[in-house]
Symmetry: C2
Subunit: 407 residues, 2 copies
């Protein structure tokens, strides 16, 4: 008699972005003539760059010839990609991370969901509130979150770190004991960043408490301000307390290409066991490597031309962010984020709830964003817009919002 | 204070194929002039076919233009691929499976490792012995396998179904109660198949016991004999008791491309919950879809030309299988499999253990295979060879083996 994993029953509703997609498509069906501008899900809109396209084509050609065909990839990623990552993302930033501490994967979403598997179900996790839902949901499914308190909208075994206006929408060190601490900077959804000195406090805290920080650096390419760390390994002591997640989705536009990586330093040891060994085992047993052609595309991102193109892509989206920030400020909105991050965090006007604002924005303005409350109770009364639209659509969305809400 | 998932500590040794790879590369380093022929890991050697290459190129071109760029894929796979699968793999075989019961993924290995997550840790799993290690290891990591008995080489909460010579190396219905039953036909590693009547008994058993069969059909393209089912859904009642896993690795040579799919029929309900809903939730929360360009490559496999090419590929490898079978038989080996499967299962000569034979074959003959005991205790004294080499290498390997062992 099979029993299901009843932890799934504790998940409130379905996955946030699936909900939004359903709502939007229902509205579009009912209003086929309305041009909907999507600034909701963090999906990019600009095409892959020339270096990446050309690397993909030549890798495809290799796959068509017996002599250059590639079957199963090495479990942990091709050497050519891991070396490029180690050099550009770490060595050049003065971080001590070796190529064999880098695990190539199909993206930061999978890694951020799977990383909890190598830890005991007894651990207490701490997350920001609001937070990227995958950190919480993957722990709920595993049975690490306890029960859901409908009224508070919180799980009783999770430590929540509120990100509120008072602290610039960044989290403060947890007051309760926490074993696994999920951090994301530049933050999704609030767009907040912290400087190196502040991040150092988290690293010191984790080392003191023998906690581990799972550091999601998916948006590091958007950092413009000096002194904001691009990697947690810029901090002293991070090799003994931090795992870092990276994505190619937001810098190189790989949302539909799927590539990411996770760093597990060999100095990261708990219960006498190197976590590097556990994650390697997880990878080799439950995963079969990222496609060869896509790892070649990833390598191209690190070429000189590739880096130039990434900069242009990021500049393109940051121009959108600047337009949204300026436009909405002028229209009287309270906004933050969007300076070192592709996300703009705005306070809903007129005491509207996040979902009320979502509905009004969809139905009256034809713009899709993400309700802050979808990211956690402290997101209530807030709303996330992304800079990942086309420039034309972004301008149109801001203009429509200005017109509607200034009425 | 972080605690690790100590279930990992129960895993004996490292992942089988990683072990073999390390042994082979150490030998090659010490003997740089020896030409090693690899018939070990089930990796293909022939290049991607023309239809697939051309679909990849045009999808890459689409990704380079804003108008045809594709970001995040639909969680469960693109409609174009799911429809093609439903039509070719099910409708044309008279199986009642709808496109929205098909979940596209990065391969059958990931799916076979992840599928256990939607079930309670209390369930008892049943596996063949010998068996593809991922089924067991993924359950060990999750904490469902109990403790490892070093002496017997078995976990104490797993029900093992011996596949021995007496039963043609196919499993018999489990004698103890089992909730999740992993079956793989054509079998990896033994190459055994069963006919529809026999498979029907498993389906009836599962429905009677409210068990679920996880049916790995990764090798179905190799079936030549009439009356051997290509899908478990050819059996009556399978929609209420079976999940089926498919791969593009072995038919279309996608081992380095990564594409597969899993079927969860909507009639599959346990504890009042549709497993379809659970797997959809797992997919949307912990995975981000297979790359667009690779789903287009999968679609090309189902085109008329694609199907012709797949047939040629499979024919190519089956010619190897036939050569190995015939050659080794003539050399006095006891062999099975290789008729409806790309794997040849041979009895080690002279009472050698599987690893003794592995070492002798590597060091004296320069041929790599897989020790049967690596797949489970009932594999001891057996050895797996794959038909996935090039024809030239396969011929050379068999000739070398014949020469060496006939001495």
């Amino acid at each position: 008699m099979v029993k299901i994993n009843d932890n799934y029953e504790k998940l409130p509703g379905s996955y946030l972005f699936s909900d939004i997609a359903k709502k939007v498509s229902a509205y579009q069906e009912a209003n086929p003539d309305q041009k909907i501008i999507r600034l909701g899900i963090g999906d990019v809109t600009q095409p892959l760059t020339d270096s990446v396209i050309s690397a993909l084509h030549s890798a495809v050609d290799e796959m068509g010839q017996a002599k250059t065909f590639h079957g199963y990839a090495p479990d942990l990623g091709y050497e050519f990609l891991r070396t490029a990552i180690a050099k550009h993302d770490y060595e050049e930033r003065g971080c001590d991370i070796a190529a064999d501490e880098i695990f190539v994967s199909d993206g930061a979403k999978s890694d951020s969901a799977n990383i909890q598997e190598i830890f005991s179900l007894d651990n207490v996790i701490a997350v920001c509130d609001p937070v990227y839902p995958v950190y919480v949901d993957s722990n709920v499914m595993a049975g690490r979150a306890g029960d859901y308190d409908e009224e508070r909208g919180l799980f009783d075994r999770i430590v929540y770190m509120p990100c509120d206006a008072e602290h610039g929408f960044a989290p403060q060190l947890p007051e309760q004991e926490a074993d696994l601490i999920y951090l994301c900077f530049p933050n999704n959804p609030t767009g907040a960043v912290i400087n190196k000195e502040e991040l150092q406090k988290w690293v010191d805290y984790a080392n003191e408490h023998s906690s581990i920080i799972i550091y999601d650096a998916a948006y590091e390419a958007y950092i413009r301000t000096d002194g904001i760390p691009h990697s947690i390994y810029e901090c002293k002591g991070a090799r003994t307390c931090a795992i870092e997640l990276h994505s190619f989705s937001k810098n190189a536009g790989f949302t539909g290409v799927r590539l990411g990586y996770t760093v597990v330093p060999k100095d990261l040891v708990r219960d006498g066991v190197a976590l590097h060994k556990l994650w390697a085992r997880r990878h080799s047993t439950k995963y079969n490597g990222a496609p060869y052609i896509i790892q070649r595309a990833g390598e191209a991102v690190y070429s000189e031309a590739g880096q130039r193109e990434v900069k242009q892509l990021v500049d393109y989206y940051m121009k959108n962010a600047a337009y949204i920030l300026k436009g909405l400020k002028e229209a009287g909105f309270t906004v933050s984020g969007g300076v070192d991050a592709p996300y703009i965090w705005l306070k809903t006007p007129n005491q509207m709830t996040s979902w009320e604002f979502f509905d009004e924005l969809l139905e009256k303005v034809g713009v899709v964003g993400t309700p802050g409350s979808g990211f956690g109770p402290h997101g209530e009364g807030y709303f996330r817009l992304t800079a990942f639209g086309s420039y034309e659509n972004t301008v149109e969305a801001v203009d429509r919002m200005t017109k509607h809400f200034q009425k």
